[in-house]
């Protein structure tokens, strides 16, 4: 009994520690600027300033930033899911020489920090004249090994007998991929979709290096420049932060189960 209560107590403290910064963000976004920093802290704004949520659209490029981010997230996710699952089928179900060595190279690069090769990558991209365009981010993020890795884990759990039976029936490998594997792997595809979507939405460094023109900025870059420009407008900055976080929280809550499953499978078998 005591241990149970103690457990709840620790859990409660941890939950508050995790959530309080988010709560503070939301509350501050509904305050006037002068009320953000007060002694003591106002945990409930006396008079919520909803107009912050209207003002930010006219004071910033929020519409452009969100538009770019949605576009990038959608294209990157689509490519990552398609090319990733397609390659994963090759790695998991087709036998050919050199396959396992190649897969090792994929996995190996997961352990190489991007920061260590971002310089040569940038030089290459600028020679291809892809910098300062949305294409650079698409190229950068769409072909990662993560999708291959996650989908391969899943395809390997599908029995070979099933695939062989389809082969005997004369189905081509592409047919097996499309008509057997894809329908079977909807949960894994959902995981990969969510993970990629969240990563692309939240990426800051990629866009920072590659997207120089303001009309190409993503929400992360835009928010950062807004913070620099209006560094004393605390309430509005928090409003912008809420708007940058909200879509991802909604997506996460909607697909939480898949998200957690995806992390658990990619995480465990490294």
């Amino acid at each position: 009994m005591v241990r149970r209560i103690l457990g709840y107590l620790v859990l409660g403290i941890a939950a508050v520690a995790v959530l309080l910064p988010f709560y503070w963000m939301v509350v501050s976004s509904l305050k006037t600027n002068n009320d953000v920093f007060t002694v003591p802290v106002q945990w409930l704004p006396a008079d919520p300033v909803w107009s912050n949520y209207a003002d930010i659209w006219s004071k910033s490029g929020m519409t452009t930033w969100l538009g770019n981010t949605v576009l990038l997230s959608a294209v990157v996710t689509l490519l990552q899911v398609f090319t990733g699952s397609f390659a994963a089928y090759g790695f998991a179900k087709v036998h050919f020489p050199g396959r396992d060595v190649l897969f090792l190279a994929y996995i190996g690069t997961l352990a190489v920090p991007w920061q260590s090769y971002m310089i040569p990558q940038f030089i290459m991209m600028s020679k291809l004249q892809l910098t300062d365009s949305l294409w650079s981010i698409i190229a950068l993020q769409a072909f990662g090994p993560l999708g291959v890795f996650l989908m391969k884990q899943f395809y390997e759990s599908v029995p070979d007998e099933l695939v062989d039976a389809a082969r005997i029936d004369g189905m081509s490998e592409y047919g097996i991929y499309r008509r057997i594997m894809l329908p079977l792997s909807v949960p894994a595809l959902a995981s990969l979709t969510l993970i990629t979507l969240v990563a692309t939405w939240n990426d800051y460094l990629g866009p920072l290096l590659y997207l120089r023109s303001p009309d190409l900025w993503t929400i992360q870059l835009g928010l950062k420049s807004f913070i620099n420009q209006y560094n004393a407008e605390y309430a509005l900055i928090m409003t912008g932060s809420v708007l940058s976080v909200l879509p991802i929280v909604v997506i996460f809550l909607a697909g939480q189960r898949y998200f957690v499953e995806g992390i658990a499978t990619t995480g465990l078998k490294g």
Partner: protein
Amino acid sequence: MTTTLAAGRRRGRPALRNIAVGWSFLLPNFAGFAILTLIPVVLLFYYAFTEWNVFGGSTWSGLANFRQMWDDTSFWTALRNTFYYTAFHIPLTLTVSLGLALLLNRKLRGVAFFRTVAFFPYITSIVAIAQIWNMLFSPSYGPVNQLLRAIGVANPPGWTTSADWSMPAVIVVGTWREMGYYMLLFLAGLQTIPAQLHEAAKVDGANAWQRFRAVTLPGLRPTTFFITVMLTIGSFKVFDLILVMTDGGPGQSTLVLSQYIYQKGFEENQFGYASALSIVLFAICFLVTIVQFLVNKSRDS
């Protein structure tokens, strides 16, 4: 039957066909991967030995970049700070996330809710999080220092405005952000440990701590190993959190290696020198991963 069929496919013409089919599956992803990841990694080892002029051309300069590094005090500061972050971030995150996982692995009400909650910091953007924490840490009116004053700390630190406390502040936020992710990996690991092992230990009269030492920890070995590797690489490449929270400051108190690479490469256009710095980052991560693999292997046998 399956094996004979698969074996048959590997011989003669079917094998050739398999190569073509296999590669056709890999190619859409592999082409992008090779051009955008493999080639840059290889180029890195060439660029590190070159000097770049203002017009964007490169000339071979041998070990000059590495000699420059040796005398570069900023480089040593960045390296020291990177190790500082790593040395505290890894044990802290391991402890907190394992503790949370153990707590959430029990049958308490509200566990599902907390698992979701713990994940929030990890899925939300660095820019927003860094900004929230910067404001929470604000020296005079920030909620953190208000709390510290309330519990009797007369002169709470200035956090991100103080050279001594900026790194601890960044480490706290880094841990807060990542603990939910690693907690989840630990939870998945805990669920692979058979419940009978715990039962048996209980019957033998082992108390909770003994069961943790004798059953849980050994059972978690593969998970702990994987998490430590991930955490190590993650800590050595830490960058965006620091860039947005402190921009390496005040002074150079939070300047880390990847940020220094960024400054040299993208702000000063010294691509050769930045590549040489990148090699150091690459080498550290590579060595640490190899060492961890060897240690893990020797424990296995």
